[in-house]
């Protein structure tokens, strides 16, 4: 269980989070949505242990502030929004960087399996810098997956915190990545993912956190949050949620476009 209690955080002198209390359960995918500058990334960085915060964050009973970097790394993997790489590493070498603090006994085949999962089999010998942006994003995801390969270790769940992991991907690979996350959650791991694409969030998430101006505006099922009235208020534009028959079939269209043009 990941719990945040009255979380406050600042970037430089600007207060970004103004007291967020929420919790995520392992085995479920939580999508964090909200307009630009609402504090989604800062929230993810806070639970990743990257930024100083006031309040309390607990990861499966342990206070985040008490965990050493290597203890954190054994419990959660993080995919930042913009991943960089300084030197000409090959794809295999990048994925192996994720194994720095890995707890797997048998890791010899892990690089290949992590690459297969993101549809990059056969790319292990290529130079990372020579790949396309979308391929690089998938290599970084494979690295993070390799770090927390088993979703549950010794009865304790592990977590994936991802900031916009599919922004650079084509639609087929977006769905492929979502399947990877679904399997991870179904096997008992926890997933918190920042998403801009509301329809993708509606499709994949079990729970949605709607962030606005550093506050949690709404939380709950996609049908409730993305179908709810708070969404249009948060984004500041008319949004109409539509429902198709069947489960998880909420979708939205930017109706405001026509209103403005007309």
């Amino acid at each position: 269980m990941l719990t945040n209690r009255s979380l406050h955080a600042s970037l430089g002198r600007t207060a970004v989070l103004h007291g967020i209390t929420t919790s995520a359960a392992p085995g479920r995918i939580v999508a964090v949505i909200g307009p630009n500058g609402s504090g989604k990334t800062t929230l993810l960085r806070a639970i990743s242990g990257d930024v100083a915060y006031d309040g309390r964050i607990a990861l499966d009973g342990a206070d985040l502030a008490d965990l050493k970097p290597w203890e954190l790394a054994a419990r959660r993997g993080v995919l930042p929004q913009a991943a960089t790489l300084a030197f000409p590493f090959t794809v295999a070498e990048v994925v192996r960087l994720g194994l720095t603090s890995g707890t797997q006994a048998d890791r010899s085949d892990l690089i290949g399996r992590a690459l297969a999962e993101v549809d990059l089999t056969g790319f292990s010998g290529r130079y990372y810098q020579e790949l396309s942006g979308g391929q690089q994003a998938r290599v970084q995801l494979a690295r993070v997956r390799a770090q927390v390969w088993d979703p549950v270790v010794a009865g304790r769940p592990r977590w994936l915190f991802l900031d916009e992991p599919v922004a650079a991907l084509d639609i087929a690979h977006q769905i492929g990545v979502m399947r990877v996350l679904r399997r991870f959650a179904d096997a008992g791991g926890g997933v918190v993912i920042v998403l801009h694409d509301l329809n993708l969030a509606a499709m994949v998430a079990d729970d949605v956190w709607l962030i606005h101006d550093g506050l949690l505006l709404d939380a709950g099922s996609p049908a409730r949050v993305i179908g709810g009235s708070a969404l249009a208020e948060a984004y500041g534009c008319p949004i109409v949620a539509n429902r198709l028959p069947g489960p998880q079939a909420t979708f939205v269209l930017p109706h405001g476009l026509w209103a403005a043009a007309g």
Binding site: R45, A73, T90, A92, L97, T100, S108
Partner: protein, 355 residues
């Protein structure tokens, strides 16, 4: 343990090749060391001396003296300085996430030089307890402090939010180098005749002044840096993903950075204190190795030490044979080889870095 034949090597995994290269480089260093020992202006031949010694004959005292007091210290100094310069460069490049970060180019060498000159010129005015405590070590310790200060300033200036700007780093390095050079100039101006002679010998950038007391003073500092470097390997690997991701994969980022800065300062400072400014070893050696076996610091740092030592011994051999019996300053040899390589790196990376 699984037999190697059973586990096919994953394409892109260069660790086995890197380990083989390490063995090859170790052999090469051994050969070069022997070459360095057996070659000199006096014409004393190592093989003949050893032959007659093993056969039980008397070896002339002069020959022993040349081997033991001149060639062996020179060879050991070359090995230590070459390894330190290459490892200092590799660690600095890993810390700055930039293949152009060479201590000699970005002012760290100049800062260390200023420290050394300070110790030579003003060391006599140091309080008695400092002089007694440091003794012969005053020059290398002062050079270490100078290198450490300039590395810290450079890192603060050129790195924001865990990212280093190449342009800022190189420009800040020019400014730091100019500042240290100006301060050094003032010190040279106020130095007396004896100090000037010391400074001139030191500033030539040569292994010619190698001696046992110098090795005793600066050797431990260099050894410490060389022994610390392998422990930085995983940390520098992680830093190549950026500071945030390095933390995500479980590294104590601040500690890695501090140890890296101290290692760069110790390696560069002690090397500069012994042999003056010898450029380009720190940039050429890591770059060649990254091309050959990849940027994984677990192998890069060890291989850089071996190749750096070998290259410096070779440069020294060239420096003292090309216009024999006179000697060329070794810095000229390394610059002639190294500067074109630096330009080549710039050209290759022109599309990749926003200079």
């Amino acid at each position: 343990m699984v037999a190697l034949a059973d586990t096919p090597v994953l394409a892109g995994d260069r660790s086995i090749r890197a380990r083989r290269v390490a063995f090859g480089l170790a052999g090469l260093l051994l050969l070069t060391s022997l070459l360095s020992l057996s070659h000199g202006a006096s014409g004393v031949r190592l093989d003949l001396v050893l032959q007659s010694w093993l056969a039980g004959h008397d070896v002339p005292a002069r020959d022993w003296l040349i081997l033991w007091e001149i060639r062996l210290p020179r060879m050991l100094t070359g090995v230590l300085v070459g390894a330190s310069l290459a490892v200092g460069g590799a660690v600095m490049q890993g810390l700055f996430r930039n293949p152009l970060a060479d201590p000699g180019l970005v002012g760290v060498g100049a800062g260390a030089g200023l420290g050394a000159v300070l110790a030579i010129v003003l060391g006599g005015q140091a309080p008695a307890w400092v002089a007694a405590w440091l003794g012969w070590n005053m020059v290398p310790v002062a050079a270490f402090m100078g290198g450490w200060l300039s590395t810290m300033v450079l890192y603060r200036v050129s790195t924001r939010a865990g990212r280093t700007s190449t342009a800022t780093m190189l420009l800040a390095g020019i400014a730091l180098g100019a500042l240290a050079g100006a301060a050094t100039g003032i010190l040279v101006y106020v130095a007396d005749d004896r100090q000037l002679r010391d400074l001139t010998f030191w500033g030539l950038g040569s292994l010619g002044g190698a001696s046992w007391p110098k090795i005793a003073a600066a050797g431990p500092v260099m050894l410490l840096a060389l022994l610390a470097a392998p422990f930085l390997a995983r940390g520098l690997n992680g830093l190549s993903l950026g500071e945030a991701a390095a933390h995500h994969i479980g590294l104590p980022v601040q500690r890695v950075k501090h140890v890296a800065i101290l290692t760069v300062a110790a390696a560069t400072g002690a090397a500069v204190a012994v042999s003056g400014g010898i450029g380009f070893i720190g940039i050429v050696v890591p770059h060649l190795l990254r091309l050959a076996t990849g940027p994984d610091h677990r192998y890069l740092l060890v291989n850089a030490a071996l190749l750096g030592a070998t290259l410096l011994l070779l440069a020294d051999l060239i420096a003292r044979s090309i216009i024999a019996p006179a000697e060329l300053p070794i810095g000229i040899v390394t610059a002639v080889i190294g500067a074109p390589v630096f330009l080549w790196i710039l050209l290759r990376r022109r599309g990749l870095v926003d200079l």
